[in-house]
């Protein structure tokens, strides 16, 4: 697409461009403007060469060698960079895992009969998980089983010794490798605490030792906290099945109450969706002249209700402000993660109410209606009522809903993919063996205003499918692909001949939406299953990962557990590690000899696609297929 003006430089998505032009005309500030005001950004920070871990500092190391080469304590560039990386992994793993803990808490409430409005929707999955955990399932009620499972998982968060259950899902070879390297994780809480301990002043100074613990912590996230979040969400809300839905800001409705759910945990968004079906609230909305109540999602909580309920997705991370600028949002209901503190200020220019709900996440200027799972449905009704009551405050002159929205087919849990393939992964493995599908790429991650919104997401994915690489996706990449029409079964036309044939035979798109960012655990499960079927390790598979527009610490943890699982991963924005040549080399070269996966950094999506393709072809050759 031709770059014509500032809006089109900032975003690749025509809908975002439309909203950005509007914002500019109205003098509204967005993340892109704030990024401009942050320029130039600090070079020490970009290189990971600043340390504020103790009060002898702050310390910096001069990358040009004329100033200090060590911090006050003597920390070198290697130590500083590795410590910074470890803390980022700790924060990312904490975010995913605390989300997982909240879901486990909800399961426990349901088991105890205190889950106001929640229920167990996938009993088969509950039983299967219970058996995995060695919990007796025969002649027991669902509640009894759920109670034991929730307690067992709860206990795992703080497990001091011995492995956590879901790591047993990894292929034998992988597990042995983790054990040999001493990076098989214990409970995620313990690993995160150890990250903070090791990075305290005067503890771990060896960049290899620090990085290895980073990998261990990240495994406790991917094969622990995140996987718990995914699996228990399926138990409570149902395992996603393919369904059609709509994407982009055009899903907002001019004549209905619009509620946006934004954040991450389905415990809130599921209840909000349920409450919008309440007849009293619908009547109330109609009383104000609205035709109904429309819920749409942003970020991963949006992905959760999109995957399970087909609730429309309004946009990805960088569209949270743009949604408010439509002037048509009565309430943006938020919980945790990726919520810009800029929202309440922006909302004062419109009638939108920003409703914060988590006791962990308050934002000045937001209306706080605290959400507690024990009273979930009642609180959800109160939130929806607040939104409905705000409808009369909508100012018609300020309403600007873009027309564009895109159809998408979503809901590809591993179970759904297996079902689509006729009951096993064998047809997929055969397609890979025959070369119809060259390999699989997991393309995930955030938006980042330092790069043009969705440009790398969409172009990388298009290049991959054109070359017969099946793309599985989650998070903000998934939303970018949905908006770009790549999740329509018709998008098979854009795929190479082999992939096109497979997609058309199955009636699925060449880009499969697997869920929210914690649902990258689904991709791990799929990889493990394929590796086991072939009798090899994950690192032997023609698969790769990519995070073209990543920005969050969660993405750092994800990248680390994907690489730790043996998967080559391409980052599209530069991580703050280049200040240490040794750490950089370890992550981009040395790691391959240790865990069988490594990182590459490539900001150009077309070149990134080439890196992934040559990696996939090399792995195919090594497998002799």
């Amino acid at each position: 697409m031709e770059v014509k003006d500032r809006a089109s430089e900032r975003s690749f998505d025509p809908v975002s461009q439309y909203m950005l032009r509007l914002a500019e005309k109205q003098g509204i500030e967005t993340a892109w403007d704030r990024l401009e005001k942050q320029q130039p950004q600090c070079g020490f920070g970009e290189l990971g060469l600043c340390c504020r871990h103790c009060n002898m500092g702050p310390c910096r190391i001069d990358p040009f060698g004329e100033g200090p080469t060590k911090g006050v304590c003597g920390a070198t560039a290697d130590t500083m960079v590795a410590r910074g990386l470890l803390r980022a992994i700790a924060a990312g793993a904490a975010a995913h895992s605390d989300h997982g803990r909240d879901i486990a808490h909800t399961l426990l409430l349901v088991a105890e009969g205190k889950g106001n409005g929640y229920q167990i929707k996938d009993e088969a999955k509950l039983r299967a998980l219970a058996e995995e955990y060695g919990i007796e399932t025969k002649k027991r009620t669902v509640e009894e089983i759920a109670f034991d499972l929730a307690k067992a998982i709860y206990a795992e968060f703080g497990k001091q010794e011995g492995p956590i259950q879901f790591t047993r899902r990894a292929p034998e070879k992988r597990l042995k490798l983790w054990q040999k390297l001493g990076i098989e994780p214990r409970g995620v809480d313990r690993e995160i605490v150890e990250c903070m301990h090791r990075t305290h002043m005067g503890v771990d100074h060896d960049y290899v030792n620090l990085t290895l613990h980073g990998l261990r912590t990240s495994i406790a996230d991917g094969w622990g906290g995140s996987m718990i979040a995914t699996e228990l969400s399926d138990v409570l809300f149902g395992t996603p099945q393919p369904k059609k839905a709509m994407a982009n800001l055009g899903v907002l409705k001019a004549d209905e109450v619009n509620i946006i759910v934004h954040g991450h945990e389905p415990t809130l968004s599921e209840m909000i969706v349920a409450a919008t079906h309440d007849p009293d609230l619908l009547d109330r909305a109609k009383g104000y002249g609205a035709k109904g109540i429309n819920v749409a999602g942003i970020c991963c909580t949006g992905n959760e209700v999109l995957m399970r309920q087909g609730v429309p997705i309004a946009g990805n991370f960088l569209q949270q402000e743009l949604a408010i600028i439509t002037g048509a949002v009565e309430a943006m209901v938020v919980d945790v993660q990726c919520i810009m503190p800029a929202l309440p200020d922006l909302a004062t220019c419109y009638h939108t109410k920003i409703i914060s709900t988590s006791p962990k996440a308050k934002t000045p200027g937001a209306t706080h209606i605290e959400f507690h799972e024990e009273k979930a449905y009642d609180i959800a009704k109160e939130i929806v009522r607040t939104a409905v009551d705000n409808y009369p405050n909508r100012v018609a002159a300020k309403v600007n809903i873009p027309d564009e929205k895109m159809e998408c087919m979503v809901g590809f849990s591993v179970e759904a993919i297996v079902a689509a393939l006729g009951g096993s992964l064998t047809p997929l493995i055969d397609a890979i063996k025959s070369g119809a599908i060259k390999g699989i790429a997991g393309v995930v991650g955030c938006n980042n205003p330092t790069v043009r919104q969705d440009y790398s997401h969409v172009n990388l994915v298009k290049e991959l499918i054109k070359n017969d690489v099946l793309v599985v996706t989650t998070g903000c990449n998934a939303i970018a692909c949905a908006k770009a029409g790549l999740m329509r079964p018709e998008a098979a036309k854009e795929a190479g001949k082999g992939l096109k044939g497979v997609c058309q035979a199955l009636g699925v798109p060449p880009v499969l939406h697997m869920g929210s960012c914690v649902d990258i655990s689904r991709i791990l499960v799929a990889c493990a299953a394929i590796a086991k079927a072939l009798g090899v390790d994950i690192s032997d598979l023609p698969v790769a990962g990519a995070a073209p527009e990543w920005m969050s610490e969660k993405a750092v943890s994800i990248g680390a557990y994907v690489v730790s699982s043996g998967i080559f991963t391409v980052l599209g924005t530069v991580p703050a590690v280049l200040g240490s040549a040794n750490v950089t080399k370890l992550l981009t070269e040395g790691a391959e000899g240790v865990v069988g996966g490594k990182f590459a950094v490539e900001t150009d999506p077309f070149k990134a696609a080439q890196l992934i393709l040559s990696h996939i072809m090399a792995k195919r050759a090594a497998l002799g297929i």
Binding site: P40, C42, G43, F44, E46, L47, R60, D62, P63, F64, G65, E66, G67, V574, L578, G579, A581
Partner: protein
């Protein structure tokens, strides 16, 4: 040199937070790639021509003073005068003092006579290096562009004079208003 931008780097020392962004930006500007991530791997490593210097309290005031220092590009520059090989040259009234590398014999007399200590030695020791005001850089000096607090600014003497006069006038206006109010109270 007529078409080159003329001006001086003026420093507001009160605004300097000693973040060294100017040093970082200067070193990148001296690199071959002009890109931070590549500059730190270049051989030889580029050198910054501005240095953030500091003095602790007692010398002048109880406050710590910290400030970037780079060549002042003196009109009657001692370094230009002292150079035995005419390797240093002043370009225009508000233009930079530049070093002609090929003429420099590395005798360091200029270092000795510089009142500001802003001439340094190239890594190989074969020539001196100093700030040239980024006189060939379209966006002006890199350090100025990099300063997050705007402690560094690139202005002509005339521009700074105008700004100062207007500030003085604004102060006067405030004084007059306050005076009037006082008068009314009496």
């Amino acid at each position: 040199m007529e078409d080159k931008m003329e001006g001086n780097i003026f420093i507001d020392v009160e605004k300097c937070v000693a973040c060294k962004s100017c040093e970082m930006a200067c070193a990148v500007e001296q690199s071959k790639s002009k890109v931070l991530f590549q500059a730190i791997r270049e051989e030889p490593l580029p050198q910054s021509l501005v240095r953030v210097e500091w003095i602790s309290g007692e010398l002048v005031s109880p406050k710590k003073l910290r400030s970037p220092l780079q060549c002042r590009h003196c009109e009657d520059a001692p370094c230009v005068t002292v150079c035995p090989t005419k390797a240093l040259e002043k370009l225009g009234a508000e233009g930079p003092v530049i070093v002609h590398d090929e003429r420099c014999i590395g005798c360091k007399w200029c270092v000795l006579v510089c009142p500001f200590g802003v001439i340094s030695l190239r890594r190989d020791g074969k020539a001196v290096i100093k700030c040239d005001l980024c006189f060939e850089r379209e966006a002006g000096p890199a350090c100025v562009e990099a300063c997050p607090t705007k402690a560094l600014r690139f202005l002509t003497v005339a521009e700074l004079g105008k700004e100062r006069r207007r500030k003085a006038l604004a102060d006067l206006q405030q004084g007059l208003v306050a005076g009037k109010k006082q008068q009314l109270r009496w």
